[in-house]
Symmetry: C2
Subunit: 459 residues, 2 copies
């Protein structure tokens, strides 16, 4: 027997017989009748079910606690004059699974901290129902954007010896018995005995591997989990997160910004269209004005300005900075906020001083800056970071030497510059940063199903 999903019932708005399986969110019982509010996870709103004393187990039903799973047979009745558009009049209600009074998720306000400590149950609250559905729909939006445009989705490896972020930022992995390690003659751990025959890591980026595939398919993207070992307890850092890294052959910095802007707008629109209840919920309970913020972004044309000109603006600004703006330095959060306020919208900051950026970025003709670009948006700050890549082998090698990057492990990567190299560009977008932007949630721990942060690997 097929169950009817609440989302479908609320969409159809048709009077008919239905079979529902769901969980009880509230139960208001009176002497002769009662109301169950149930949710089956298919949509954010609950369904109101009316039951009355004609049901033979009426007494039993009226004692169903919050969290109980139930099967309900009944009829949809439209109620256009009530708060909700319809309700179900129950002909039969059966308890499928009981739930004790000690159930932690009660119909009241729980703190985010309490819910983090009940991460395996928090998706049963309205807030996390909204957040994790938006996360799912946004992931689909990302795939749809790239696949509709012919990009090839590449599963770059997570286990690796090469990494564009540097191995001091990577977790080491092993199959060796850590309490009984083999050693070489000079007293180091003998990784030749390990599964891969050498020390291996889990990756912080798929970019280098992605570039090799862009040289075959033209346009590619990655979308997968990424790891950093940072011992950092902030609202925006996690040790495991998901990242999207597109890479496009025959694409320069201007083309890159076009794609970033188009993609971000596409994803925002996709989520607005498909998650109206969830966005409204977050607008009401998480970030007032959320929907307007996203709509404004859709209607804006992103400003493009050089790092140099940003510093000029910051220096002229009538603001007492905590961090003094400098032509040679990164910009601080307070600067990002000023700039997005100044332009009333998202801003691409491009052409950064080369000494503070990665070795693989294209050196500009001035030999002082690189063709890198960060997208900063109102409230969320930096959302994407990308660059045109240095396609000239000799320049790239020189940059690697200057920055102390080992050539040995990534000689295969350098082949992209040896064999039919071309102008190409790519960017990275932290998926959690996007979800925080789309929901208004301020702590990264609340947009990841089971967050991993220092000292925290529960579940």
């Amino acid at each position: 027997m097929k169950r009817d999903k609440i989302k479908q019932i609320l969409t159809d708005l048709t009077e008919k017989e239905v079979l529902i399986c769901a969980w009880v969110r509230t139960n208001r019982a009176q002497a002769q009748f009662g109301f169950l509010n149930v949710n089956d996870g298919s949509t954010l709103p609950n369904l109101q079910v009316v039951y009355d004393a004609k049901l033979e187990n009426f007494q039993e039903i009226s004692k169903f606690r919050v969290g109980v799973s139930v099967q309900i047979k009944g009829r949809v009745v439209l109620t256009p004059n009530m708060k909700q558009p319809l309700e179900v009049h129950a002909d039969e209600i059966i308890m499928l699974g009981d739930c004790p009074e000690t159930y932690p998720i009660q119909p009241k306000r729980h703190t985010r901290e309490f819910l983090r400590d009940n991460a395996h149950l928090r998706a049963r609250t309205n807030l996390f129902n909204a957040v994790f559905r938006i996360r799912s729909v946004a992931a689909m939006a990302v795939h749809s954007y790239f696949q509709e445009r012919g990009y090839v989705y590449v599963h770059t490896p997570l286990i690796t010896c090469a990494d564009c972020e540097g191995s001091d930022q990577m977790f080491k992995i092993t199959t060796l018995d850590v309490n009984n390690l083999p050693y070489t003659e000079d007293g180091k751990v003998d990784f030749s005995k390990d599964l891969f025959g050498k020390q291996a890591f889990i990756t912080g980026s798929g970019q280098l591997h992605g570039e090799t595939f862009a040289m075959a398919f033209g346009d590619i993207y990655t979308f997968g989990p990424t790891f950093r070992t940072e011992n950092s307890n902030t609202k925006t850092h996690a040790n495991e997160f998901w990242m999207i890294e597109p890479e496009m052959a025959f694409c320069d910095l201007e083309g890159l910004m076009d794609i970033e802007e188009e993609m971000l707008k596409y994803v925002c629109k996709y989520v607005l269209d498909r998650c109206p209840d969830e966005i409204n919920f977050c607008d009401q309970f998480v970030e007032k004005g959320l929907k307007q913020k996203i709509t404004d972004l859709l209607n804006s044309s992103f400003v493009r300005i050089s790092h140099h000109d940003v510093i000029d603006l910051l220096k002229k600004a009538p603001v007492k900075w905590e961090f003094l703006p400098s032509y040679d330095d990164d910009i601080a959060k307070e600067h990002e906020k000023y700039i997005t306020d100044y332009f009333h919208g998202p801003v691409f900051i491009k052409d950064w001083p080369k000494d503070i950026k990665a070795y693989y970025m294209k050196v500009n003709p001035d030999n002082k800056t690189v063709a890198a670009v960060d997208l900063v948006v109102p409230q969320a700050g930096e959302l994407m970071g990308g660059s045109q890549r240095e396609e000239k082998l000799d320049v790239l090698l020189k940059r690697m030497e200057e920055m102390g990057v080992e050539k040995d492990g990534i000689d295969w990567y350098l082949d992209t510059r040896r064999y039919g190299g071309c102008v190409h560009s790519g960017f990275g977008m932290g998926f959690e940063r996007l979800i925080m932007y789309l929901t208004g949630i301020e702590n990264i721990r609340d947009v990841i199903p089971y967050p991993r942060t220092p000292k925290n690997v529960q579940y």
Copy 2:
């Protein structure tokens, strides 16, 4: 200036001015004219470009080597009577990036082994262009199937201390200096000094976490990388692979099989519709009859039969088995082959002896078997494995005790049975197994961009 993609040019079939950026696959130069076959990765077929001595750099062009990246301005000319539907008459051809004679990917047959040793270049061959595009499109098919049906995509954690496959199968991770480890008083490694404050692993399954989200959203799926430490050098084992793990509340074993069958057919049809060139290529050069095999699957109704009845069939079969069929045992590859041949199509084998299956599977009323199901398909063998889950807490606890599964680390998981538990089911599908089925490729190393196998973590 926007480039025209070869896929679009071949689809439009329109005479017009175009700008192409691509790589040279072959170059046949004669005295007064020449032909470049170029590919930009947007599609499998090459584009033929005709150039003649009127171009001022004609002599230079005629020496362009295989692998060179080029920019071509020219006109599309339809050639309905030729082998290819159109060609481009070049007005301008510029070399973007040179390629030396030593370029490993020449227009000739390379062995799969040679190409594995050039994994960073092999996507530039027709074979891997086809395979990795099919992989990308199949991934999208999986997402589309579940998202269209309202499933929530859940990013279950990769770093974990809990795992449904057991920690002996998991990689250990650490941020400690392995050559200078801290020890506790009793001489064990002191993981309280590690980033997470205890020993952590990378996961072999997202099922347990997935189940907790199914109890909130009803229908969920995971799709992400998975790891096993198996020191196994076979054609079907890799230490890193991608897995899809859907989990459905209010769904029993029969419902599970319905979903598995519908999903597999959906994905096969999606790939057939969108990758005709790639499927034809694999049909011609990898597995003769591939397209027919997939079409047959689409038109078949999958057989459902119990493990017991399969053993009956095997025992009666006029075959001398290497492994004797047994009612208490797993079935061997030779058995799977016999069964799919016998039924001329995919077969669900269900109700397995409980002693050879996992603790979380639903114990059947006979108390001897569990409501588990494996889907075996012609040629590829087992493609999916799933089960109805044991939703009764007392039975589950007893099974855990019988099988020696520690309760401590997964008490949170048991809450799914304490708070509004319900009948639920899920399955796992190894994504590489699916791609091998869809391409005919027999070695898992050739369907993963950068495969990880014992002693092999190059790139």
